[in-house]
Amino acid sequence: MRTRAEANRQRWAILGFAVAILVLSFLVLKSTYYQLVLTQVLLWAVLSLGWNLLSGYSGYFSFGHAAFWGLGAYTVALGMLYLDLTPWISIPFAALVGAVAGAIIGYPTFRLRGHYFALAMLAYPLATLYVFQWLGYQELALPMKREAPLLYMQFEDQRLYVVLALGLLVAALLISLNVENSRFGMALLAIKQNEPAAEAAGINTWRWKMLALMLSGAISAIAGGLYGVVLLVVTPEAVFGMLVSAQALILALFGGVGSLWGPVIGAMLLVPLAEGLNAELGDVLPGIQGVVYGIAIIMIILWAPEGVYWRVLDRFSRRAPAASAPETAAAPVAANVAPLPRVPAPLGADLLVLRDIGISFGGLRALDGIDLAVPEGGLYGIIGPNGAGKTTLFNVINGFLAPDRGAITFSGEPITGLRPNQVCRRGIGRTFQVVRAFSRMTVLENVIVGAFVGARDDATARQMALAALDRVGLSAQSEAIAGGLTTRELRLMELARALVPHPRLMLLDETLAGLAHDDLDGILTVIRQLRADGITVVIIEHTMQAMVKLVDHFTVLDHGRLIASGQPDDVVRDASVIEAYLGKKWVDRVAVPAK
């Protein structure tokens, strides 16, 4: 998230860019042909920005943005041919068509991730292409309206198209900037870097992804609509073809994916290059222009794998390498967290209740008839050997998995089958066995993502995040990039992220694993502090030592079954627990386990 001053600088940059384009168009370029090329540059930049809004920020790559572009172009063309509709009306209407198409496409397709999403997106424009061919719209020529050219956007002066396209581009840039600077953009970035973590932090990933695709579709369709007006002819191949989809992502990837200016840079460099090559070489030896274009793309991308923008930025080194920050502060962990004695606080009514929870993966019964009741204010430990089903249990509670049978209630209300972000909103936070950081964001930004659940506005979210960092003793590292933190700092950051919306229940998944002895005490202190603040804690571990000291109630899982439950000291003497951990022969020999 940018600061306000940075955002303002970007607004000035957009204004400066617009003025430069106008100067170029009105004072420098003389021929109509160059004006037309410039119009194309601007329109492709809008399409690419639309693509970037979804794919650049959220990481969901679309290979099918031609669907929106084409629908926009056909909306305008069909509107003019059959309804005598002026582009002044049909182009804004195209935005609506694009948004609706985005919703229709997103609904099934967001079930997929990664490459599968990208490839599924290929299908939409191509399927539409065949449908339009079949409907007989092979080649729609926009009728000339000599009696009212202005009313139908048919300008004598090519520069007016430049102005219109520039207006669209400026609007697209401002929209992108606003997205970047809001929780919308932060949510998309969080989805890109770690979607399950975003979901568990209370981000409604589904909603933001759908919004991004709809907005992206609207922007792309608007650009496609104006493109149709400028070129006067619309054919299915030219607007739904794979080359359009490819162009959208080539320009953004080339210029710098996920950046405001990347798509613009890509369009400014590549579109004129392609155009020039075609004009200069195309007649000499057909095909040579494509070869040169291909070689140019490959050469530059080998030099700048993440795009020209990022490469140039690295050159001027405003963007330090990702792992620069961490070593700075090994600040005292719990300076502001007083170590507390173990107080068996008075326990309240049952906060979290599991009844007969069962889930199977194939033939494996990962959980089998689990009954559990966690009293409010308790510090509840779940242990068990590897593969006992501990993490699966958490995944069922927080909504990553739906149980095959059984019911979960939280504070008296059923939460079985809710999505993770809804579970988070009810007041259940969680951390992960393998820390799920948004590794390219700063520590503060990581925590802010968690704060969006409770915060009304972005400033409040920031305040809440700072407070949570202070609570776990990580304030000194708030500007460090998460990717460079130590294990202890990552665990604390994740704790802060789960803590920031003020949950009533925290699920901690092996928070103590992989920590050195010194680090352990710091984290234990924080956990006890949580309980002292009235937060109920359920913690998973597979080593007993730390747990015996920490918790006031123990439950032992083995092979998906609950084999013992009770006071820590009783449980560690339980025969079935010793058997699960050490094997049968130890049951007889060990009266009291080592620790």
Binding site: R111, H115, L119, A120, N278, G287, I297, E306
Partner: protein, 362 residues
Amino acid sequence: MGIGERSGIPHLTPALSASRGGEGVARPVAKSVVSSPCFAYRRAGRSERKVAVPFSSVDLLQALSAGLLVGSAYALMCIGLGIIFGSMNVINFAQGDFLMLGMYAAFYLTAGYGVLTFLGPYGGPIVAAFLAGPIVFAIGWVLHRFIVARVTGAGVAQIAGAGAYGQILVTLGISLILQNGGLILFGSTPVGIRTPLSRQSWEIGDVLLNQARVVSFLFAVALAGGMYLFLSHTRLGKGLRAAADNPQAAIYMGIDVDRAHRIAWSAGVGITAIAGGLVATSQTFQPYIGFDFVIVMYAGVVLGGLGSNFGAFWGGLVIGVVQQMSTLILPYQLQNTAIFVVFLLIIFLRPQGMFGRLSERT
């Protein structure tokens, strides 16, 4: 004309260079970007029907068998793509263009330069198709060594998105170079490999089976089976699968991931090229033919589900059958739309594909 606008830059239509306004409307002569690779053949005499049923049972069998025969070639292509996609996790947009290279390699070995004419009109095209494999394998090897390896494999495992941005652009760039290089070298006139088999059919009951297709079906299935055995039973095959499953772990286990990738890439494009060589006996082609098949291939691979070459094979076969069967009830222009509809349905019902699995650790 009709070539420039397919050079990878969609707006390069003649409309651009034509002056606007005055002489009316310039007409871009865009050929179909993805024309349907259609091989629907029904017997001419069978189309007169009496009842309301839109098609007869013979039509059904005919379409089914045509689908299986076509599908076997698709299946082989999908295996080639699946090896690359599966082991490198790279989306190779140039796969269709390697298919095109395979077609032209087979063409020049037979009709073009006639190197293989001594094998006769029956054996020549088949041998040529299989020789296309090693030729394209070598081209793929060189391209991987000097270009693709720079954006894939061990070197970029640490970069965000594992270098996916660079990979996409590089394969798109290779695709542009191969298509347009092909245009320069081979020309734009469609060519084909003629074999007497193309025009002969076996008759089983009332169903006609094109002999060229039956032969290519048998070879495709045999080659697919061979690949399956190779991947599951040889040391090299297992190494490829390990490198695919977890490149980092594979590196630690002493597997040279870059080498494994190079083999996977080259073998993948080589197998697809053989499929191209087989298909070349029953249709004409030009340097832009690759586009037509990229979609079919990816639909097949996603349909089958990542992770098993087995899945890619069945995915390809299903695509072929759906494509041919759809012509029974849908207008023939919509046969590829039918593919996409089935594709989306399966995605909707089983996001992991027919044979894939979904797993995620938290």
